[in-house]
Symmetry: C2
Subunit: 253 residues, 2 copies
């Protein structure tokens, strides 16, 4: 059975207080089990996850890091305000957010918002996804699933791809442990990050520029079993340990 | 317009010498512009990218690394034979292949093949993708695009996802440089690794276990402009530099 992936087009530009779920659901006939991918930037806008740069007073650490990486100290302060653990401060700021996601500049962004403002990721993206899911249920009566997406760089490979930062109605990881391969051997690859695979393709459909589509619906994706431990614990994360070791030693990378 | 993603089901188990393109194309009506994602494991099988473990004589380095990471020395020798640059030898072997792809165990795998054998990635995956594309053209007369996919872990996040290791008929990266965002500002995010975003979702549809589907067709994906520099050069890759520094210093990660 083929999977249908449908961009939700002709949506307005959103502002704080707008009912994003209602806008997406109007003009779209949901089915039970649909997966609705929503760009975090648009969700953040409707929730007012926006700050005016000229209202931010950078602290000492922000000023120091801004000097190192050549950014606006107020912007770096906004990054530090959403950072749980700083992993690198050069050649760019890389940090882990409270929700577990690791991103450059802690996902704080200054594109697609009016000049002089920055936009930050939803601070509780799992709750955001659940909230959207419940709102879709209220409006449409349908039992849909939701992924909140962000766009990120990665190791070894150039270019950004979409990832999931919040999800509801499904597990992040499909767990194949105990399954057998085609020859009856126990599988070596046992955990697949399916929410990220779906978010990646959603991001491709969304696009990045002024052709941007903030929501994409996936139909007929089936269901799976697994768990939600999408983020490595710091002590099991080889990359994080290597980066942090260089950072703590003051090594330039 | 919605995108259709169609698993190519009911394919046989493939063996060396089989015409993979013909099997995929039979029983499927291609359209111009379709993107055919093909699992590298299946491509490798038809091309005989398989070795018998008992025919591999491990060298000194393979024996040493096998001792460190607790693997079969013959398996490590197969990994080294496809490795261009060794990045880590513990807690697992991570290396860059000649084609530029970085993977754990250099992508050498011992699942889904008969016991006592290992399977390695197509050594020239760009040529493989082009060859498949030309063969599809011969068979069907249609101008399709091809992605050869692999399944990989990543930094910070648990679980494997699909990535592209070879592609033909499109660029790997969609380049937004010079484009403006919704407010007319020049975009900060300028390069999107679209082949990886497509490969990721293809991998989700393929599955990992005995329900495996080796090929997935994407229809109505549009086209884009960009380039093929999918892999960071070693000197611009922060993660690689940090990992290698720890490796060279003999630090355990």
């Amino acid at each position: 059975m083929s999977i249908e992936v449908i961009p939700v087009e002709n949506l307005p530009i959103f502002h704080k207080g707008d009912d994003l779920a209602e806008s997406i659901a109007s003009g779209f006939e949901f089915s039970d089990g649909d997966i609705i991918c929503i760009a975090s930037s648009v969700y953040s806008k409707t929730k007012g996850c926006i700050r005016q740069l000229d209202e931010i007073v950078p602290g000492e650490k922000a000023a120091e890091i801004a000097g190192i990486c050549g950014e606006d100290p107020r912007f770096i302060q906004a990054v530090l305000d959403t950072t749980e653990d700083l992993i690198l401060d050069r050649p760019f700021v890389l940090s882990q957010l409270k929700c577990g996601h690791v991103g450059v500049r802690a996902g704080v962004d200054n594109s697609n918002v009016e000049d002089g403002t920055i936009i930050y990721l939803p601070p509780e993206p799992m709750e955001s996804a659940e909230e959207m899911r419940e709102r879709f249920k209220e409006i449409t009566g349908k039992d849909v699933r939701v992924i909140i997406t962000d766009t990120c760089g990665r190791s070894f490979r150039r270019g950004q791809t979409g990832v999931a930062i919040g999800w509801a109605g499904m597990t992040a990881i499909q767990d194949f442990r105990g399954d057998c391969d085609l020859f009856g051997r126990v599988l070596e690859i046992t955990e697949e990050a399916v929410v990220d695979e779906i978010a990646a393709f959603a991001n491709f459909i969304m696009g990045e520029s002024d052709r941007g589509v903030p929501a994409v619906v996936f139909r007929n994706c089936g269901s799976w079993k697994g768990h939600d431990e999408l983020y490595f614990r710091p002590e099991e994360d080889i990359t994080r340990k290597a980066l942090k070791r260089c950072y703590m030693a003051g090594d330039d990378l």
